[in-house]
């Protein structure tokens, strides 16, 4: 008999019970938040001076939103609620204009997060006894470590391969008979094409499930992955500001992702007015983290667009479900699972004296993977007349982009005047990728 729930009582709790948990959680979060320089000021401005000012879930709308800019402007310690000596983990993501965002975790925070990830894993039907090959990047990015800790908590056998080196991934899948993998949808498609090319195909593999995330994709993409590998694929949602993976996860019925509402309060708002929208209406996802003391986050505007459904799920869980992410309210790009803002690329390019002020990036598909091409112009005044200068310039741009956005771009150098001029609304991003 295999367990269907990680924490049945909470996962199937009646709505009023969930709301009670949320109010309790929020009181705690407000207490934590008041200890930070940022929220200390911000909450008082909204006349919230103590957790007692907050008594029912409807009071949530009294609280101000938090944005990515708030995180950047208060880098590095403006949202830190505990003494640094209590922090056991730091995760960070690169910022839109060079300033990163940082999230701190206490030991309890890591434990609570891992518990929620464990719950997510069990909901998909994966369990102790599964061999889990984690193909998501380890490091400051939360995708790798988040699932790693949750999977260990479940008792799975974890293989922390991290991303890339596809031939080795395939070998490890065979050697250790991996049953569950975690990757981006585009990487899985790439993985499949490599398996196809390398002889015996899927024979000798023991794969039965995959968790996919970090990249919006369609139902058709899921079906394609499931068909290609003959496995079940479960969508997941998370973002580093809200711990990382495990904010929402699909259950065995694969019909939208359960948001673990005792850990994260989810709202959908109209991005223009900030008003809450009812279930079924698409808007911006706003999340409050109830399980992290070191970096409290209240009503965080994710800039992801989606909608909620609160109809009962066949699995028996009562937590609302979030649709696939349908888009963004800003210009963030997701390139092979990595979040990139065009402004980050601009920032890097503009620091290089040998290039002009015009630039353009193009996104295409190279097989299943995304290909980023960065187009820049040579700055006439800095041109020495040597081909070696141009080659060095190209490598430098490549290297700096690789270091800061963790993507290997193709760099094309153009004659001055080739690209649209920088004034006005020049089109800087050309995304030729088919919508998946």
């Amino acid at each position: 008999m295999t367990e269907k729930f990680w924490n049945k009582e909470i996962e199937t709790a009646p709505r009023d019970q969930i709301e009670k948990l949320q109010v309790q959680g929020l009181k705690k979060v407000i207490q934590w938040a008041l200890d930070t320089p940022f929220y200390g000021k911000k909450l008082k401005k909204s006349e919230i001076n103590s957790p007692d000012d907050f008594n029912c879930i409807a009071d949530l709308t009294k609280l101000p939103f938090t944005t990515k800019d708030d995180l950047r402007n208060n880098f590095p310690r403006g949202l830190l609620a505990v003494d640094m000596s209590e922090v056991v983990r730091i995760h960070s993501s690169s910022g839109t204009t060079g300033i990163p965002t940082v999230i701190y975790f206490t030991q309890d925070d890591v434990n609570r997060w891992s518990d929620i990830v464990a719950r997510s894993i069990i909901a998909t039907g994966a369990r102790k006894g599964d061999i889990f090959q984690n193909m998501m990047t380890y490091g400051l990015f939360t995708g790798g470590l988040g699932l790693h800790y949750g999977a260990e908590k479940v008792g799975m056998t974890v293989i922390p391969v991290s991303s890339g080196n596809t031939k080795r991934q395939v070998q490890i899948m065979k050697d250790f008979q991996s049953t569950v993998v975690h990757a981006t949808p585009s990487y899985l498609m790439h993985l499949h094409s490599v398996i196809e090319q390398s002889g015996p195909g899927l024979a000798g593999l023991a794969l039965r499930k995959t968790f996919v995330g970090a990249e919006p994709h369609s139902e058709n993409t899921r079906l394609k992955i499931e068909e290609m590998f003959g496995i079940d694929a479960y969508n997941s949602y998370g973002l580093s500001e809200l711990n990382g993976p495990g904010v929402a996860f699909e259950c065995e019925f694969k019909d939208s992702m359960h948001v673990w509402e005792d850990a994260y309060i989810v709202e959908i708002i109209d991005p223009a007015t900030g008003q809450q929208l009812p279930a079924g209406e698409e808007g911006e996802v706003v999340l409050t983290n109830l399980i992290r003391q070191a970096t409290p986050l209240i009503r965080y505007r994710t800039r992801d667009l989606a909608y909620l459904t609160n109809e009962p799920c066949r699995c028996g869980r009562t937590h609302q479900r979030l649709s696939r992410i349908t888009g963004r309210t800003d210009d963030m790009l997701i390139i092979n699972g990595v979040n990139v803002f065009p402004s980050q690329i601009e920032e890097i390019i503009m620091q290089i004296p040998e290039v002009g002020t015009n630039w353009q990036i193009c996104l295409d598909k190279d097989g299943a993977l995304d290909k980023l091409t960065v187009n820049v112009e040579i700055y006439s005044k800095m041109f020495s007349g040597d081909a070696s200068q141009i080659e060095k310039l190209r490598s430098r741009i490549k290297e700096e982009l690789r270091a800061s956005i963790v993507i290997n771009p193709i760099v094309r150098l153009h004659e001055p005047g080739f690209l649209p001029v920088s004034e006005g609304k020049a089109k800087r991003v050309i995304d030729n990728r088919p919508k998946i």
């Binding site: 700055y379 006439s380 007349g385 150098l413 004659e415 080739f418």
Partner: protein
Amino acid sequence: MAKQLNVFVENRPGRLESVAKSLRNSDINVRAFAIQDRGDFGLMKLIVDKPKQAQLALAEQGFACAMKDTLAVSVPDQPGNLHKLMAALAENQINIIDAYGFVLDPSKQGVCCVEIENLPQTNAAQAVEDAGFTILEDEQLYNL
């Protein structure tokens, strides 16, 4: 030392035409040219009668264009002379970035234009002259 214009050109149709057009419109006479191909771009190397004006004309059209020193060597048009020139440079450990040659007067005179790595730090001119070659000066080259 003779001057050569190095122009950055993308590898796509019409770019060389555009360079040539700028030069024509400014009444520049091209004495010699070559293309250094580097895949998706190339450098067009030009020896012209009025290098300064040519550079201005190209810059005005937006071209990235630099004026470089080149060693223009007069080479008698007979078997073995290219080797003799190359040997003189090789013996002195002088590295060539790019070079091109043309015959000026069949079986009498040819010219070899050689771009030397770190030219000012080398004894390239001396080595070439010691081997018995004549280096063409600006005017000699432009008025071939």
